[in-house]
Amino acid sequence: MEIEQQALSNPTGVETIEISGSVALLEALIAEGTEVIFGYPGGAIMPIYDALYDYKEKLNHILVRHEQGGIHAGQGFARTSGKVGVVFATSGPGATNLVTGLADAMIDSTPLVCITGQVFAHLLGTDAFQETDVINITTPVTKWNYQVTDATEIPEVLSKAFYIARSGRPGPVLIDITKNAQIQKFDYSGYTPCNHIRSYRPKPLIRNEYIEQAAALINQAKKPFVLWGQGVILGEAEKEFKAFVEKSGIPSAWTILGAGAIPTDHPLNVGMLGMHGNYGPNVLTNECDVMIAIGMRFDDRVTGRLDKYAKQAKIIHLDIDPSEIDKNVQTTVPVWGDCKETLPALTALIQQKTYPEWLKKFRDFDQKEIEAVINDELHPASGELTMGEVISHLNELTHGEAIIVTDVGQHQMVACRYAKLNKTRSNVTSGGLGTMGFALPAAIGAKFGAPERTVVAVIGDGGFQMTLQELGTIMQSNIDVKILILNNRFLGMVRQWQELFNQHRYSFVDIESPDFVALAAAYRIKGKSISERGEISSSLKEMLEHKGSFLLEVMVTKENNVFPMVPQGCSVSEIRLK
């Protein structure tokens, strides 16, 4: 093993060494800087796990409780670290359990490399035990996928996989490796990272004409409005974005995946876009004269009714993915390219400006929203607890320094609306796919991706029960994740829609929960459940100060609604405050 390791660590040497496909895979992971693998073994991936036995010192493998948990953990890791998440699963059910996470990572542009075991190549197509056609099942939900049937392909395929996953618009890649290829020995001559594939251009060529035209539009605008999305974070362009916003003086609003790219309390940050976003950004979308969309894709939850969306505005769209231009909203000036490069070029050409009157309009709408919605949500004087006041207390204790991982539903909207975020990569949520059950496993990965930071998973009582088996992963990995369950004893978002649009016909949204504190105790995780206003702050403090994981359940009011709200099929300017 000693000698073998030495030879392997010398990729430039011409000598070759005979190794198995499994060892070549693990060497590739090490060469790509993999720190942690989230996985679950099984028959068809056993040779890889056998090789992993000798790599325990170099690769940290976290045994999850379900492959879906594994891939969500990989996503959480990728989101907070900015690196590629690595996931292992076996063939058949192991592979199909990845599908939800792949779809989630695909729609939220999360870089992942998933390795699945596959039956022996000679058994492909024979309905062998635990055989499933994972390549075809995952084609719509992967940026790229590939089946390896020969060990000699492994180094090159893995280098392509990592390159594709992290370059351009990132996304999930799945590599399916047949068992024979895992076992097969071959002459290995080292690992060469990939940096070019002739048919793949991750970054479109930047056209200065567009940047000049965009700058001209911005410079003559009276009411410009910036919308930013996760592209700013994925492109690691937070500084460039901040410089652009500050020089241009343009009020800027975010999609939920863009949250935190500039701090919540930045004077030009005017809040959240979309269905449950802030009042001003939604209403004024239909008043701005120039809209500058940066690294966002005009999701229907952001735009509401498209034919009444910003019709008066000229639209500048900065995106690394040319297929996003004109996909949903017709662009006036397309600025194709990596915003880390296009933003500084644009900033250089725009005039330093401020728009005090225009900005005041946003703040006036804020005032209306505060009076109509926010005050009651964050500072209720009496009555049952609200989700918002819990988040408000959390903000005071974390000072906006924590990573907030959210699941899907009402608590997600409340947490994303009200959580204070000082830093980028602080908001981990399932945005595009809306995957309930995302938060608990994603929080595990988030902690591995940013071990020095506090990770708080805010989860509803419904979503928690979808992946609560990952408490076992937390217990065994001994990591520190704070679990904050906002329990309204309902599948709250669906209930809200049923109340508002289905005449209070509460169809199967009444959900019972187990004793979450006892459940946590069964996993040796300390827990507490509260329902009194006076306990919120002290309990959150106890949770945050506790060494190790902690589950805090807060019983909140049952039938609270998230407002403002743009009802489905309505224009953003028809946003309702109640």
Binding site: I135, N136, T139, P140, K143, W144, N145, Y146, Q147, I164, N195, H196, I197, R198, S199, Y200, R201, K203, P204, L205, R207, E209, Y210, E212, Q213, A216, L217, Q220, L306, D307, K311, K314, I315, D321, P322, S323, I325, D326, K327, N328, V329, Q330, T331, T332, V333, P334, W336
Partner: protein
């Protein structure tokens, strides 16, 4: 056709004229036949990856031809759909985004020269007996590929209407079997792909490879 083309010449900015004609994304546009030409690597599974871009939008592929191109290792797809230009542009961009796709073009029938090949199997005795049939076949540009005692196979190439016409003609004479190939199409205004491929092989392809519809270098060519 160009109603939703975006004119972003600097002049349009100063004129104050919104450059966003067809702001509903061209949804009212009429559907017509488009031929999508795709240059790809020769990769297992890529056909499925391309096909699902159509099927996820519930769009039927009218005709599909895939075959090695004139360039070693590069495959060429011809895909025919009946759709609006707006939809075809979105489909094309999503196809070109696939890792193993080099380039996508989409064209109306005016932009291309195309052919489909058809084979017709008819009983030999009828052909031999009836001189009129032979004349009809000749008039329709068909030629005999195989003549056997019991049947004869004729071949013709042409547009759909032409190959269809011959079915109708042969039907009364006991047409036994018919098959037609997918459309193959040559783009009138194209320099082929050889030079482009060499550019693609560079880490930083030159500007001319990064054609761009907004710069009007070829009306229906877009790429990054």
């Amino acid at each position: 056709m160009d109603s939703n083309k975006i004119n972003i010449a600097p002049a349009s900015l100063s004129s104050g004229e919104p450059a966003r004609a067809g702001t509903d994304g061209g949804r009212d546009e009429a559907k017509q036949e488009f031929t999508i030409t795709v240059y790809t690597e020769n990769q297992i599974g890529l056909l499925n990856r391309i096909a699902i871009i159509f099927t996820r939008r519930k769009i039927n592929i009218h005709s599909l031809n895939t075959s090695p191109s004139e360039i070693e290792s590069i495959h060429r797809f011809n895909i025919v759909v009946q759709e609006t230009e707006d939809v075809v542009r979105k489909l094309s961009r999503q196809i070109e985004k696939q890792v193993e796709v080099l380039k996508v073009y989409f064209n109306t029938n005016d932009d291309i020269i195309w052919q489909e090949m058809a084979l017709y199997k008819v009983p030999t005795d009828i052909i031999a007996e009836k001189a009129s049939v032979e004349r009809l076949l000749r008039e329709n540009g068909a030629r005999a590929v195989v003549i056997r005692k019991d049947y004869t196979v004729f071949e013709t190439t042409g547009h759909r209407e032409e190959t269809d016409a011959l079915i109708r003609i042969l039907q009364p004479f006991g047409l036994i079997e018919f098959v037609r190939s997918a459309r193959v199409a040559i783009i009138k205004n194209s320099d082929g792909f050889n030079r482009k491929l060499r550019e693609f092989e560079k880490a930083e392809p030159g500007e001319d490879v990064n054609e761009n519809e907004y710069l009007n270098k070829g009306q229906r060519i877009f790429t990054m």
